[in-house]
Amino acid sequence: MEPDASLPPLSDELTAELADLRPRGPRRPARQLAWFVASMVMYTIVVIFTVKLRVDWVELPIWWQLGMAALWLVGLAVPVGLLMLPAAGRVGGHWRSASAISIAMTVLFCAIGWFHPSGPSSFSYADTPLHGHGCMQMGLGIAMVPSIVVAFLLRGVYPTTSRVVAASIGAAAGSIGGLVLHFHCRVTDGLHLLLFHGGMVAVASFIVAVVGPLLLDLPWNYRQRSRGSKAAS
């Protein structure tokens, strides 16, 4: 192939790296997704039994408990699947659909708490609605692990849409926190579930949207950017 005269020569840094080029396994999205979902189910089970199962578990309808658990899992697996599995012939996945589904699921999780059934051992924060903020903290803490794992798996895949992708990752990871809270927290009043269970998903999405682009980017890229910023100042 003839060299193109209008192209600049490769940089010295890149030439040096090419001299020592090693084969790199390409991304295997289906395998990544299967591994991720399996490990997150394990992670959720371990966390639920660490923080203890809710005491009113046996008093609530089983269809509600399992149905909600399935919904929280959908909130995790569908957006992550859409982000990980590439669109036909593309490197990246369906980020627009992932973000639309994340928004829809967040709204659903906020709204569905109003229909939560109660048992004799269930609890209500109706008089002091802001007292349940521990659920927010716990949910956010639990959501950080899947956020970091997904961001690491998708490093370099989304160069221009990292903020939107990060927000979707945050909402999906928030679903893991919500799933744990669903099995742990015996508070069943709608406002608590809206503010601290569904609301936690929205907050997780916001936090990961702020810090996630750094995780989704490659270290070399932000080293370059910070070098540029220092030169600018």
Partner: protein, 189 residues
């Protein structure tokens, strides 16, 4: 071309350095043209192209077998341009205090005015170049991708990381503004 690029990318990810050099020769010119049209300076576009390929090299593990690497590489080039534009914006005050002369502007073809002696109408070409650089960054990107690089609206939206609707609006507004600027410029001349 995409079939060649796909094969070259696969060989390169598999550890074939000569495939990278071939990939650079095949994918480099359209990316260089795109970057030149965006930033308006050939030497800056050269620098951005090198950074783009460095990022491609670093991110090669994100590539999926069978995928067309070009839209992904365009996205990386676009990100590189945005980072540079933001860096330059921050450095605007510092740059203005230097005594360096501005670089010779590049044409839509990516060549400087002195380099190029062909084309339909030099006056129109210069006016188009000037008008393109006067467009806001988002509209310039949309016009360059959809009107000059021949990308579909959907491809252009993916590269710029926005919705298809937003890309349509930006391309339309950019094209309208470009037409107004060209009309005004040519009438004023």
């Amino acid at each position: 071309m995409p079939a060649d690029v796909k094969e070259l990318m696969q060989r390169y990810v598999g550890g074939d350095a000569s495939a990278f050099r071939d990939l650079y020769r095949v994918a480099g010119p359209p990316l260089l043209g795109y970057l030149t049209r965006l930033c308006g300076q050939k030497s800056l576009a050269d620098d951005l192209l090198q950074q783009t390929f460095m990022k491609v090299h670093r991110a090669r593990g994100a590539f999926v077998l069978g995928a067309d690497p070009m839209p992904w590489m365009y996205s990386i080039a676009h990100r590189t341009f945005l980072d540079e534009a933001r860096r330059r914006k921050r450095a605007k005050v510092n740059l203005s205090t230097t005594s360096e002369l501005p670089e010779v502007a590049a044409q839509i073809t990516g060549q400087t005015i002195e380099q190029s002696s062909q084309g339909p109408d030099p006056e129109l070409r210069d006016a188009a170049l000037l008008a393109l650089q006067q467009l806001p960054e988002a509209q310039r990107t949309a016009v360059v991708l959809t009107k000059l690089s021949g990308k579909s609206i959907s491809e252009a939206a993916d590269i710029a990381g926005i919705s298809v609707g937003a890309m349509k609006v930006r391309a339309h507004r950019g094209y309208e503004m470009l037409r107004k600027l060209l009309k005004g410029g040519l009438h004023g001349a």
